[in-house]
Subunit: 245 residues, 2 copies
């Protein structure tokens, strides 16, 4: 089961969700892989993992390494880290035949119960590769004024990928993040629920400073501190498990 | 004077800074243009401006319109709005000769005292076009654990543009945003100041819910409410004016 965490809007909690959901699912699954498809490489950094020049997902795309060569382990999950050279890969593959299927082929060779993919804030070829390789998509949505901005464009891209490259792709749900009980947050959540009826996760990730601090300690929220963020991502893990089992 | 607001990290306050700084500079300059180079088009939306299919910056890149045809006015500044078709333009221009100079040539034909350019969260061709057209760069940095992540990659890109495409390009400063007095924010600000000595703006943009609400009203912070965000961006406007006059 391959789950992609996406939204081309920046800073909406994609990496925070990818890392903490991957660790939360460890309660129900044996083998979990977190793949970082963002050249900013925040998913790896969040768990204290930095890939050197020759051991990142970019090298796997370049064909010089395989996933098992580059994988590192943290808190019981495997992590395929990225680094900035992945941005170079995106420009290089523009004219390659089958350029959207590269990640799908890479993941065919490995065997995990669940693969979680963190994406960059864009709808470029790296994100399209992730959608083509995916079974499910979780859309991380910041509960602010811009919350629903761009979701129509995002859905058009998902539809295009589904109809031409990957017909098994479907939306697992919309996840509201950074919820802070203000009028703007409440409006954003309400408008999300009314526009995407039945597709919004019951679990809402509340704003919580410890979620911001955990990456500084190189840990998921579960290894960092028992707090609102820990409860919310634990609940999300359960809700996702119920939907995919 | 062309100023670009950049950082490939998402959600760090680029659009909030671009919009509020453009309006703040109205106090010292007559003619100000805000150009939205992000296909998410948040800069326009922030001021209640949405470009239709035929009247966005994408049409100017496609050569079917000029800047004066698409410009709208809000709070005394001109805005060249974007829309999602700009993402298509980025893929189309990949093989064009002089693909990095397109925006520079577009801005040659118009006459403003200050042009502010909002960028997408990436270092792709749209951002490179903005750097090539720019005199100065302001780097918006969220004061969290990831604050300095990616800045080395960003600086490499700036150096490359400066040495091959635009030798007048220089850094105006690093702007700390979403500062909230927690240990993580303080650490981030201290580490920014020690790494980029003398290049960090004295003005720090504090976290302020009204900055989140203003886009919902289609207004800059100056037209929305007198508050911390108003004071901070007013101060930034003065500091930027002192540096560029
Ligand atoms: N629920 C939350 N409460 C408080 N802070 C949060 C929460 N979720 C995320 N953050 C913080 O917000 C910032 C952005 O989050 P994150 O990096 O996960 O977003 P992203 O969508 O992955 O960003 P990008 O678009 O750059 O990849 C980080 O500092 C993170 O720690
Ligand atoms: N100082 C602040 N206090 C509170 N909220 C803020 C502040 N600055 C920005 N925000 C909010 O944070 C969110 C992200 O800000 P913004 O859209 O300006 O970032 P960005 O860097 O332009 O994002 P992207 O990478 O997607 O273009 C928005 O909801 C915005 O209102
Ligand atoms: Mg991220
Ligand atoms: Mg923006």
């Amino acid at each position: 089961m391959v789950i992609v965490i996406m939204n081309q809007k920046g800073g909406v909690g994609k990496t925070t969700t990818a890392v903490n959901l991957a660790v939360a699912l460890k309660r129900n699954y044996e083998r979990i892989l977190l793949v970082d498809m963002d050249p900013q490489a925040n998913a790896g950094t969040h768990l204290g993992i930095r890939a050197d020049e020759n051991n990142s997902i970019a090298n796997v795309f370049a064909g010089t390494k395989k996933i098992p060569d580059i994988v590192k382990n943290a808190e019981g999950i495997d992590v395929a880290p990225s680094n900035i050279s992945l941005a170079g890969i995106e420009l290089q593959i523009v004219n390659e035949i089958g350029r959207e299927m590269l990640l799908k082929d890479i993941l065919k060779e490995i065997n995990y119960d669940v693969v979680i993919i963190d994406c960059p804030p864009s709808l470029g070829l790296l994100s399209v590769n992730a959608l083509t390789a995916a079974d499910k998509v979780i859309i991380s949505v910041l509960t602010d004024y811009f919350a629903r901005e761009g979701l129509a464009d995002f859905l058009r891209t998902v539809q295009k990928v589904k109809s031409t490259l990957n017909n098994k792709l479907s939306i697992l749900g919309y996840l509201a993040t950074n919820y802070d009980n203000t009028a703007i947050s409440k409006d954003a959540l309400e408008s999300l629920k009314s526009h995407f009826e039945g597709q919004v996760f019951k679990t809402v990730i509340r704003i919580n400073t410890h979620l911001k601090e955990a990456p500084g300690a190189g840990k998921s929220i579960f290894a960092y501190k028992k707090c609102r963020g820990y409860e919310d991502y634990e609940k999300l893990g359960e809700e996702v498990y119920e939907k995919i089992k």
